[in-house]
Structures are given as structure tokens and as C-alpha cells.
Amino acid sequence: MKEETIYLDNAASTKVDERVMEAMEPYMLETYAVATSDFAYSMGIEAKEALNSAREKIADRLKGDSGEMIFTSGGTESSNLALKGAAEKLLEKEGKDHIVISKIEDFPVLNTAKVLEKKGFEVTYLDVDQEGFVDIEQLEGSLKDETILVSIQHANQEIGTLQDIKKIAEICEDHDVLYHADATHTFGRVPLDVSKIPVDMITLSSHTIHGPRGIGALYVREGTPLKKQMDGGFQENNLRAGVENIPAAVGFGKAVELIDEEENERLEEMRDRLIEGISSKIPDTVLNGPRKKRTPQNANITFQYVEGESITLHLDMRGIAVSTGSACFSKSLEASHVILGIGGDHERAHGSVRFTLGRFNDEEQVKKVIEEAAEVIERLREISPLGKGGE
């Protein structure tokens, strides 16, 4: 039998936990009605209760109110709703037209901002330092009367950098500007408390924490001006039309319930072992992102003199799944905008490999990955014309 894949691409998506599957099943086979009003038939009322119970579990994790939680089809839709919804509403209402994001945002925020820019909004793209931290002074300097919203991620999708979200939120609050944070890579993994941190909107994802795909959420603080983007019925506080995906919502709620601090500490230990193991065993590596202030599940390392697609392909042949910031690997043939954003050159992006851990990884796997990576890198360096002293 083929040995099981060591899956280290958990930032892309995760294996659904069986307990999540079990929690979802009844809402497809037994309680399959839509969420009805309290005055309709019992199956619909039960469905509604399940939906709202899931909503509460998710809101509780953020210390928010369940009425502030809007289910969407996923993180991408959540960020679209946050940026477009706020931008359109405040342009209409107050004539404002300026948005601020960081230049290393993930594509849902980055490309939504670019679309708004084409439509006439002004967008400021904030620089980040070598570890991926947003320039706080530049942020403050960029805010003006016309600024609608700042969108800066809680943590980076590629290099795991954890932003000082409290500081950012407070600056936005002081300037009376909305703040949206994409928390796709931190929700459940890194605490975020909306009763203490004045974030207005937060993008949340289910499939990055062993929940199902096709569901996500947007936390919307009460009173946040937002224009509905998906028109139709009056679901989700009249902010997102469409029949609710109750089985997926229930699964999302279950996934949140299953994450605990112990698991996050375990991931952090494995992450550290991976980083230390690779950098001590393999010469000429560079850690991308900060050493400590990063998500517990993320390690991103550049192997100098070799190219990422070749590394991932070799690792794949050894049963290890990872991703790379190399242009060759991407569908667009563009090198990682994150590695370039932190001041790295194309070579650093091309040789970068992202390892992201999840619930189903263990210490044994980490050990194996370090060993296999060392062999693969040595082999590829033998073929490479670079790094042999002559260059």
C-alpha cells in the first residue's frame, strides 16, 4: 500500500475532521429544511436553531455577538463583502473614496482593492518590513478625511507574520476609519478578542481549520456601514442573500469547537522543530517571516541556489505535499508578491517553500520531512550551477 501523504499544505486547505463530518450529516439527511421563521414547521425551526448555534460558537471564539456573524461561501466572499460593501456604502453616503491595504495581503483583499481602484477608488498599498510587519507610521500618515477603510490581515498566508492588530485597530478607531482584518490564517489558532480590540470586520474561514469548504463568515461589528453584495432574499441580517448552507455552517461550528490551546501549542512546537531542524541540517537557508511572531502552523524557508518547483516535485515523489513561492509553480507564472514585498529578490521567492501544519501532522512526520528535504536539496544543488564558489 502506498504510504500516507505527509500533508504540509494546511494553509491552502485542510482535511475535514471526521467529527465535523458526523456533525454535518444529519443536516443533509434528516433535518434538511431551510432555516424558517419561528412560526413555520418544526424541521425548519430545528434547522434555524442549528444554524444559530453554529453562529454562536463562531462568535464566541471572537468574544463577539452572534448577531454580528454573517455566513458567506468562504473567506474570499467575506473579504469581497467587507471591502466592496463598505466602499460602496460610504461613497454613496459620505462621498469618501480612499482605501488602505498592505501590499502583502492575500488575493481576496489585494485583487478586490485593485478592482475598486479601477472603479475610481484611491488605494494606498502599505509597505512592510523585512519580516512582513506593516509600517505603522506609514499607516497613520496615509489616513485622511476620505479614507473609508483599512484592510490589514491578522497574519500572512505565506510567511505567517502576525501583525500588531491591536495597534492597527486603535489607530483606525482614533481616525474614525473602518478596520477589516483577514483572519483566514489565525482564526482558532491565534486569539482575537473583539471586546478588547476595535476591529470592525473580520474574514473567517472554515476549511483552514479542518472544517468544510464552501462556508466562511464575516464578523461585522454592529453599526458598521455595509452594502449588500449578493442580492436576493433577506438572509444573514439582510447582508447576504441565498439559502443558508446549514450543514456546512454546522460543520464550521464544530470545527471551531474542536480547536483548543493544547493543539495550537503542539503545532507551535512542531513548527519550531521544523525550522530548527532544517536550518541546522541544511546549509544556506533563509527563514522567511519572523522567528517568533508568526502563526503556530507556518514555516517558510528559502533554499538558496535551487528552484521551488523542483523541490516540491521531488518532495511529492517522496510523499510530502508543500507549496512554493516560485513563479514556475504558480498558474500566473508570477513570483510570490509576499516575498518580493518583504524586500526579497526573485531568487529568494523562487527557492521558497511553505510548510504549514495541521491537526493530523505529528513529530514523526516532521522528522521525516527534515531528512527528505535535506536529501532533495543536496541533490538539486549538485545539478545547479549556482552556489559553487564560482558565482
Binding site: E309, I383, P385
Partner: protein, 212 residues
């Protein structure tokens, strides 16, 4: 052509042939750059009597299709005369590999370019072939199509990075549409010099950055 690699490509990727360098090669070329994500170095030994390629080695910094094409092209060229080897096309190399994904054309063309460049380098050293041709503006522009624009992954001519070229009495000035403090300025300058300086009638190469 499909989107992923076939078994033959994977086999060559796993076990590439003719990897390495040659001491005192008769011909040498380096195509692409690390910044573009792909680079191939190619070394030739050529029999001066028969003009046959007696030994050939390559090294690759690149993706699987780059490594596989580098390997197949060295096998195809070995034993051929330089005239025959010059005729090997990217399509033939790709066919020999059972096809390559469309998206990977650039990475594999590089290996074919490296072979042609190494042969040209041999001819330059020998003072044979068309290389006794005078270095005119057209020749310079042709040579510049072998210099990569790291921002685009294509050459500097096609991507409009060359503002203008001046050729006068063995002295060549290339004006590049970039700021001199641009992150790729020095890499591009080196690459341009490397492509033009070996020419028999070139005495001086000046690369100027005139702003984008």
C-alpha cells in the same frame, strides 16, 4: 499538450544525464538568470577536425521542465557535428520528451538556447562561422534578445526595456529604460556585457540606465 508532466519528463527530472561541468571547455554558455527562476549552463568539447561534439555537460537552476530539457538536449547533441546540433529545435526536444506543458515553454526553450549559444561561443573562439560578421546595430539587438528581463521572464528587447542602442567603431552603448538604482540594474548590466564583450570586433560595452 496537457498541463502536467508525463512520466518521461519526470524520469529525466529525477535522473538527469550529462550533469556537471567540463574543464577548459571549447564552448560555454549560460542562459537565463536566477532572477527569472531558470538558468542553464552548458559546456562543450568539440573535435576541431570533424567539428563533432565529443562531450557535453549541463547544469540547471530551474524547474522540472528545464532540467529534463537540459538533459535530453545534451543527449541529442552528443556525437552530432556543430552544424547538425544547431538545427535541434525546442519542438524536437519537447517531442523527444513526449510533450511538455504549454506553460513551461519558456523554461525549456532556455536549454535549446544554451546549446546554440555554446556552439556560437565555440565558433567565436575559433573565428569561424558567421561570427566574423561585423557587429552592427541589428546584431547587437539580436544579441540582446538573449538577455532576460527578470521582471517579465522574457527578454529585454521584447519587453521594451532597451531604450536605444548606439554602435560606433567597436564601442557599443546600450541605453536601458530603468533607473540605475533599480534592484535588477546590476544583474542586467552584467548580462548585457557578457553577451556583447566576447565579439571579435567589440572593444568596449557601455550600459547606461536612462530611467523608465
Amino acid at each position: 499538450m496537457g498541463m502536467s508532466y508525463n512520466e518521461k519528463v519526470i524520469e529525466y527530472f529525477k535522473n538527469p544525464k550529462n550533469v556537471g561541468t567540463l574543464e577548459e571547455p571549447d564552448g560555454y554558455a549560460k542562459e537565463g538568470s536566477p532572477a527569472c527562476g531558470d538558468m542553464v549552463s552548458l559546456y562543450l568539447k568539440v573535435d576541431d577536425e570533424t567539428r563533432e561534439i565529443t562531450d557535453i555537460k549541463f547544469e540547471s537552476y530551474g524547474c522540472a521542465s528545464n532540467i529534463a530539457t537540459g538533459s535530453i538536449i545534451t543527449e541529442m547533441a552528443k556525437g552530432k557535428t556543430i552544424e547538425e546540433a544547431k538545427e535541434i529545435t525546442w519542438q524536437e526536444a519537447a517531442e523527444e520528451l513526449g510533450g511538455l506543458p504549454d506553460l513551461k515553454t519558456h523554461c525549456s526553450v532556455l536549454a535549446v538556447d544554451a546549446l546554440r549559444e555554446a556552439i556560437r561561443n565555440y565558433e567565436e573562439r575559433q573565428g569561424i562561422g558567421e561570427e566574423k560578421r561585423e557587429t552592427t546595430q541589428e546584431v547587437v539587438e539580436e544579441r540582446l534578445t538573449h538577455v532576460m528581463n527578470p521582471m517579465k521572464g522574457r527578454d529585454v528587447m521584447k519587453t521594451g526595456l532597451i531604450d536605444s542602442v548606439e554602435v560606433e567603431d567597436g564601442s557599443i552603448t546600450v541605453n536601458v529604460a530603468l533607473e540605475s538604482d533599480h534592484q535588477f540594474a546590476s544583474a542586467i548590466k552584467e548580462d548585457i556585457e557578457e553577451k556583447l564583450e566576447p565579439r571579435w570586433d567589440v572593444e568596449k560595452v557601455v550600459v547606461r540606465f536612462v530611467g523608465g
